[in-house]
Each structure stands twice: as C-alpha cells, then as structure tokens.
C-alpha cells in the first residue's frame, strides 16, 4: 500500500517525518479537537438532513401525522422539517443530533479559545492561527444563525425578524442592506432559500477550508507546550503522531459522536411542532436565540431606550448593542495578539512555551472580565425565564443585570488579578518554578537561549 503510493508520489519521506512528528500530551490540547469532531458530526448529519429539507417558503397545507397542525397552512420548508421529524425513519434523531452538535460545537470552540487565550498560545508565531481561529468562530456563529432559521417555525421566524431589525438599524446603509439581504421588507419569501444556500454551501465550504488551513499552520509551526522538565522554547516533548496520538484522537472523535448521539436521542431540542409554523402576526414567549447569540440578545434587552436624532439622522436603539458592540468585541479580540505584544514590549521573540494564567495577571484579568461580560449578557437574554423560575418581576431582573454587566466583570478582574499574584507568590503549582531563560552571546553579536540542564 505505502509502496504503491510512494512509487507514484514519493510519499515515503514525508510519511516518515509525518508519522513520527511529536505532539505534546496535555488534555487541554484536545479541546480544539472536540470542536473539530463536532464539525464532523455536523457535516454527516447535515448531509442527511439536506436530502429531506425543502428550502421553499411557498404555503402548502400540512397533512402529515402531527394531528394539531393537520389542515393548516405552513411553508413547504416547515412541512419538510415536520416530515423529517415524524415520517422519516431516524430523521428526528438526526435532526436532534445535528442541533445538539451545533450547540456543543460553538461551546467547544469557546472553551478552546479560552485555553488559547489564558495560556498565551496566540503569541508570535501563532498570531496567524489566532486570526484564522477567530474567522472560524465567526463562520461557526453564522452557520448557527442561518441553521436556526431554516425550519421556518414561529421561534426561528421571530429570530429572523430581530436580525432584520438589527441590519435595518445601521445608519445610512441599513434599509438598503436589509432589503438586499432579505429581498425586500420583512417577511419575504426569498430569505429561506438564501439562508439555505449559505448554510449548506458557502459557509461550510469556507469553514472546512479554514479548518484545513488552521490545522496546516498548526502542523507547520509545531504544537506549543507547557513548561516542564526538559521542555524549552526550542524543542517539543511528547509522543509521536502515529500510533498513539492518531488512535487517541480517533477514539476522541468517536466518543464525541457518541455523546452527541446520546443527547440527540434522549434530550428533546427545538420541538418545532409545538411552536408551529411562522406567522408574521404572532409570537410565543419566551423567545430566545440559541445560546451563542444570547449575549447579543441580552445586550438588546439591557440597552436603555435611547434613540438619538441629530441633524435628521437617527441612531436606532438596536444599533449600539446589536452592531457596534459585537463589532468592537470582535475587533479587539482579533487584534489582541498585536495589542498584547505592544503592551508587553514583546519585539520579535517567539513563544513556544505556554504561560500559566498566573504568569500574566493583566491578560488573565482582562480575559476573566471579558468572559464575565459575555456571561452576564447571556444571562440577560434569559431574563424572562429567570424571572419566571425565581418569581421576580422581569423589570427588576433587567435593572439588576444592567448594573451587573458592569460591576461583575470589574470585580472579576480584580479577583483574578489578586489570585494570580497570590499564586505567583506562593508558587503552589505542581509544575514548579519557571525555569527562566539563560542567554549566551553569539559570535555575530546577537543573543541565543541556552537550554537549561534537566
């Protein structure tokens, strides 16, 4: 087998180096893999769903097996989702696995991103993969948003009209952009088929291509590693790609699929039949987006009723929380490696040894604060559900969250900073002392690092 390929491609030499490539062992390095394997599950189940889904908003009469909707006017898209859920064997479990996988996919990306951030794995030379990673996160969010809207049920239709309103709120270009994207004033018949093209073709192509580049860059740059005995900036200590890492990753992939299958079979998600078809004149409460868009919905809920009109130009209320906030958040996040390098006077030093979060209290504090803003806004998106569960007025809940969104992150920053300092002073971590760096003058007049003795 190898011989046949080598005869034609000369594969033996790169197969040899590839198979023996060393990957450091640490559980936190598997988080990105979990996201990747969720994507694998999403593609497989998604292909199945695509074979049954009809991206068509034409109104037809539902005559499937779900009694409460029989004889009602629904869109062909909604009808196909109902058929997929009730008439197609194994259709419901596939749809539920797909939806759970989507929720866990974005969650895994976020956990992976947190690991990268708090260990400083984004530093030179890995800024490039940070940028690609942020792009992948945005694509994953876009996938989620477009997918959420496809069933054309009451909940997803409500989500779409909020998206429309947020687009509409952009000064000057908003109305034009909204009409171009939706094909006219909401609701339009075109939007379902447009979302479908994005969800099953354009976005997946970009996402899969981006993942390929993400992995290629990782391969070229070699994996970073935590400091420890024998580990330096100039080596990689770990186990060869083949067989142990390949087997572990394969096992992890199958186990990820197993967890998602169990969830898809046992826990009901997005029961569109109880929401019914989208009707532009009605709404059901509570109305929330999937969790990863919750922070934006929460920001919309918390924003004060301010709509300034200056020189005849109105800044609509949803613009700042719905457009400006995510715009700024993602810009800062994207540029973070460069901002931090500037702040820390990094120069051109390469970092292959990871920080422990305590090693950089400023970064850790900022990360904790940003994470808490995100968590508070996400909680705010569920303010009516929290109000229902704890039996407090929803207005009280909103007003509390309006304060908490500023106070909690500020406190979090201080606490995180303090904990980092304490830990550094105590050096309680089992990994022991930071080995430090020893430098030696080179004949050319530069400096190079000396590998410390084990």
């Amino acid at each position: 087998m190898l011989g046949w390929i080598d005869d034609r491609l000369g594969a033996a030499s790169w197969a040899r180096t590839g198979l023996r490539k060393i990957f450091p062992d640490h559980w936190s390095f598997l988080l990105g893999e979990v996201a990747l394997f969720c994507l694998v599950v999403l593609v497989l189940t998604g292909v199945f769903l695509t074979l049954f889904y009809v991206p068509d908003a034409t109104a037809i009469t539902y005559n499937g097996s779900f009694a409460p909707l029989q004889g009602q006017q629904v869109s062909a898209a909604f009808d196909s989702v109902m058929r997929l859920s009730f008439e197609v064997k194994a259709g419901l479990v596939m749809r539920q696995i797909h939806h759970w996988a989507a929720l866990v996919f974005v969650a895994a990306i976020v956990v992976h991103l947190l690991r990268i951030f708090f260990t400083g794995a984004f530093r030179r030379p890995r800024e490039i993969n940070w940028l690609i990673g942020i792009g992948l996160l945005l694509l994953a969010l876009a996938m989620g948003l477009t997918g959420y809207s496809l069933p054309d049920d009451l909940l997803s239709g409500t989500g779409l009209r909020i998206v429309y309103s947020v687009v509409l709120s952009i000064p000057f270009i908003g109305p034009y952009l909204a009409f171009l994207v939706f094909g006219g004033e909401f609701p339009t018949a075109q939007i379902i088929s447009r979302l479908f093209v994005f969800h099953v073709m354009l976005l997946p192509a970009l996402l899969l291509g981006g993942v390929g580049i993400h992995l290629a860059v990782l391969w070229i740059q070699k994996h970073s590693q935590y400091p420890g005995p024998g580990r330096t900036e100039h080596n990689v200590v770990g186990k060869p790609f083949w067989p142990s890492q390949v087997l572990k990753s394969t096992g992890l992939m199958i186990l990820t699929a197993a967890v998602l299958s169990l969830m898809g079979g046992l826990i009901q998600i997005n029961p569109v039949w109880t929401y019914g078809p989208f009707i532009p004149t009605t709404v059901s409460a509570p109305a929330q987006p999937d969790w990863y868009v919750g922070w934006l919905d929460g920001a919309l809920r918390l924003f004060p009723p301010i709509e300034v009109t200056l020189l005849g130009i109105t800044i609509p209320s949803p613009f700042i929380p719905g457009v400006l906030l995510p715009g700024i958040a993602f810009t800062v996040m994207t540029l973070w490696p460069f901002i931090e390098a500037r702040l820390m006077h990094e120069g051109t030093r390469e970092h292959n040894l990871l920080d422990r979060p305590r090693d950089n209290p400023l970064r850790t504090g900022i990360g904790v604060a940003a994470l808490l803003v995100f968590v508070m806004l996400t909680l705010a998106a569920g303010n009516d559900v929290v109000a229902l569960v704890f039996n407090v007025p929803v207005e009280t809940m909103t007003n509390m969250m309006r304060i908490a969104v500023f106070v909690v992150p500020a406190v979090g920053f201080g606490v995180a900073w303090r904990i980092c300092e304490e830990l550094r002073r105590g050096e309680l971590h089992p990994l022991g002392r930071d080995p430090g760096v020893m430098l030696r003058r080179t004949p050319e007049g530069g400096f190079e690092e000396v590998e410390p003795p084990d």
């Binding site: 559980w27 029989q70 419901l92 009901q268 998600i269 059901s284 509570p286 969790w291 919750g294 929803v394």
Partner: protein, 255 residues
C-alpha cells in the same frame, strides 16, 4: 481526582434538573361545572359560607372593599374559576397575584358559593366545554395566536412584566380554561370567543398536557434557554471529562 468529583457532582445536578422537569403530573382534579341549575337552597347556603369566608374582603353584599373587588356582575364563571383553582380565598403571603392552590372548599360548597355570587348580578355563566379531538388544529391556531404570547407555546407559563406571571396551564381543566378566557382573571385580558372556539382552545391545552415528547426529555419545553444550559452542563461537561481521561498520561512509569 478532585476534577473528577466536580464532574460527578455537576452531572448529579443535571440529573436532578431532569427529575424536576419530568415531575409535573397531569391534573386529576376536575371541578363539576356549577351554573344555571342552582337552587335557592344553594344560594342561601352559599351566602352563609360567603359571610364567613369571603365577606371580610368583598364586603357583606359583594360590593367590594379596598381589599377585594366588587363581585356584582362578575358572574358564575369568575367565581367558579377563582374558587375551583384555589385562587380564592386569597393567601396572605401570595403577593399581589393569586396563585393556584388546592381548593379550600368542597365541590358542593363551591357550587353554593358560585350560585350566591351569580345571584349578585348578571355575568358570564360557567361555560359548558366539550373538548373533541377534531378541534385540535383550530385549537392550536387559536392557542398560538391568543395564549402562547404570555403562557408560552407549551403552556409552561411566562413572565409578563409588571411582576405578573402567566401561570403554567398544566393543572387547568377544560372548564377552567374556558372560564379564564371569558372572565379575564388578574392581568389577563378577556377572550370572548364562541363556545366551539373555547372548546378548541381547551382541547389543545389538554393535548399539551399529555402530548408526547418524541424527542426525549422535554427539559422544560421553553426553548433555547434550557437547551443552552444542557449543551454546557451535559454536552460540554461530558466531553471535558472524556478529554481529561483521554489526555491523561496513564503510563504508570511516569506518575
């Protein structure tokens, strides 16, 4: 190892959540509609009960006080709804919204009280609701258009602002559903629908109570909020546990 225990603990919490969500039992109590067939005996028996149990807030002849509204003209439907759902007598610690609780009176006593309140002035009678499976699609449409905005698509209730809650309808009988739509209890507006439409809504509410969840655990049936929690607490937790186990260095020579 501590990490492991933390996982086990969080999984237990999730399991507890499931148990709670699976727990809501369907209503078994069914109030016999009291209405037109009331006798003078019932009215006088009702008045006696009224004077001991209700008059302190609604005044001796039902004209109302600062603590309770006038009952003249609210009709039998309102009285039957409030009494059979246990909302009246009002619990002292209930805040400003009467909540469902076990009725304080026997069905006979309720019939008597209803007859008395009905005698105070003309108002909606207790409706006769005959639910029928054929009304299901009409009921779904009416429910989504009129009830779901507050009570939720799955009738699990919702917060409607102003400190008010639209209660879950899991215990409401068909007659009570009809009565509520006719008499507008609390913050609820009235929905004066035809008899058949009331029956259609009641049919759908009844259906929702026993509706199967073909997808598995319903996790509350209130949409993406519990779904997001489960994605993190079950999905991400399990996967983190797996990741820690897979990524652990199991070689006994190096530990």
């Amino acid at each position: 190892m501590r990490v492991l225990w933390a996982f086990v603990a969080s999984l237990l919490v999730v399991a507890g959540l499931f148990a709670l969500s699976a727990e809501r039992a369907p209503a078994r109590t069914r109030s016999q509609p009291a209405g037109s067939g009331s006798t003078t005996n019932q009215v006088s028996a009702g008045r006696t009960l009224y004077l001991t149990s209700c008059a302190s807030c609604h005044a001796a002849n039902g004209q109302g006080t600062a603590y309770g509204p006038s009952l003249a003209g609210v009709g039998a439907a309102a009285a039957d709804f409030q009494l059979s759902t246990g909302r009246m007598p009002f619990a002292e610690n209930a805040g400003h919204q009467a909540k469902r609780k076990p009725p304080a009176f026997t069905p006979d006593q309720i019939r008597a009280l209803v007859a008395y309140v009905a005698s105070l002035g003309a108002g909606p009678a207790v409706p006769t609701i005959s639910t029928a499976p054929s009304l299901l699609p009409r009921g779904q449409q009416l429910f989504i258009a009129n009830c779901a905005p507050c009570h939720g698509a799955t009738a699990n209730g919702g917060a409607v602002g102003g400190g008010a809650l639209a209660p879950p309808l899991s215990m409401a009988t068909a007659v009570q559903v009809g009565e509520a739509m006719l008499t507008a209890p609390g913050q609820m507006p009235a929905f004066p629908l035809s008899g058949e439409d009331l029956a259609a809504v009641a049919t759908y509410v009844e259906y929702l109570r026993t509706a199967p969840n073909p997808g598995g655990f319903s996790i509350g049936g209130i949409g993406p909020v519990p779904e997001g929690f489960v994605a993190w607490l079950v999905g991400v937790s399990l996967l983190l546990l797996i990741v820690v186990l897979v990524g652990h260095d199991w070689d006994p020579r190096r530990t």
